[in-house]
Symmetry: C2
Subunit: 255 residues, 2 copies
């Protein structure tokens, strides 16, 4: 057991497997969802990779990341068609066999009812690497799985959400990051210097500056992240004073 | 010069630098744009990585990818604030110095007019690694840059688009991929087997199956990619026959 005041950092990474994301055909929605949900549990998304449906690439990427991060999630490539090669690639990455999982077969047999509907292609989705445990799929039944610290999910966002909520109790989180966000009309080129000074005085807080447009006007979101709520509040209050002294707006944005 | 019939594969990867994408706060829009534009030039997006604003991570990632792919693009982290560390990290990755680039200073001096507006923070954006050439920024002037096969862009999508169009003539493309897309109401579990057979007969074509929903109904997009238009047409025609034999719809989707 660690002392109550010590900070525990737990990390995650995501591997998005799919030519359709890389080609620009489909825009990923899973990174944002997983990052936000993991953040609530005190797990920090540290890296995301988008890779093609190529077995060697999947193996190498997963084997590299599972050593570097506490958790690895993958999305995509566990459907019934020939281009769904994720489960086999993960089995090879771990050097284990793969075969039909009795519990997965059971669930899918019940779900499809009519045996003619439980086609050989659909049976492929019950193939699970040896030693893995199932991750429930409340939407379309065919399960994902967990092998060691790697969680293998489908690609469709609605199914990813269902799978995540069905397995999130398995994750051991760390100290959650808290966030304070101030939006201002003071542009980056003007606020940059006092902001850099503020960052030096609050080295325990990660201050990010994100320019953009709101209702057609330039707008900057200044985001402070840290684990100590009182320090964050103090940092935010100083930032509001800085923006006021520059004659600018400072609107707190609460998510 | 290669023979006209030979196929030349040119590859690219993208490094998205930014805590705001990893935290789920902002959804990336640059991968889709760059993948589609590069595709038109015969350059294939093979991998994308989203990484935090950490110098060592930026250095390691860029140094790994620039050896693996013909081109590397980075987005994000070249603004005026303290968290914009991309240019310095790229200089370190290449082992070169970094200092104010006279042409960049010139452009920005003219753009800001009033010297008081050309703040020290904004001058930081004129710092360019030694040996790099500028990439024009038609939106907000502060340039990106190219060093060897690495192109360093801003993060804001409108600026990424402007920078890409200003430098795309520098890229040497390969044989462009052509695409045929058929949408059907036949679900994956039913079409999977004949589709797998079709893939075996057309090994030179990459056939992908992407399930989803259209107007509330399950819908599958079957996407064929290859470099030979006549082979693609033949493959598409066979696929339409397969779907017809299964009693399904087959609507060609032209982008």
């Amino acid at each position: 057991m660690s002392a109550p005041s010590s900070e525990k950092i737990v990390t995650a990474s995501l591997v998005i497997i799919g030519n359709e994301i890389l080609s620009g055909r489909t825009r990923d929605a899973n990174l944002g969802f997983l990052a936000a949900e993991l953040g609530k549990l005190g797990v920090r998304m540290m890296e995301c990779r988008v890779i093609p449906d190529i077995e060697q690439k999947i193996m190498d990427t997963v084997n590299e990341l599972r050593k570097q991060y506490d958790y690895v999630f993958t999305t995509g490539g566990i459907g019934p068609t020939h281009d769904d090669i994720t489960a086999d690639s993960i089995a090879r990455a771990f050097g284990v066999g793969i075969s039909e999982h009795p519990e997965a077969i059971d669930r899918m047999t019940r779900y499809y009812g009519d045996p003619a509907q439980f086609t050989p292609a659909r049976r492929r989705m019950a193939r699970i690497p040896h030693g893995a445990s199932l991750v429930d799929n409340p939407i379309s039944i065919a399960p994902g799985f967990q092998i060691e610290n790697v969680f293998v999910f489908a690609g469709i966002p609605r199914i990813v959400e269902g799978m995540f909520h069905s397995m999130q109790h398995r994750l051991i989180g760390g100290t959650p990051l808290q966030v304070r966000t101030i939006r201002t009309n003071i542009v980056e080129g003007i606020v940059a210097e006092p902001l850099g000074d503020l960052q030096k005085r609050y080295a325990d807080i990660d201050i990010g500056s994100y320019p953009g447009f709101r209702q057609g006007r330039p707008s900057v979101s200044l985001v402070m992240r840290g684990t100590d709520g009182r320090r964050l509040d103090a940092c935010r209050d100083e930032l509001v004073s800085i923006l006021g002294a520059l004659g600018g707006e400072a609107e707190e944005f609460v998510q």
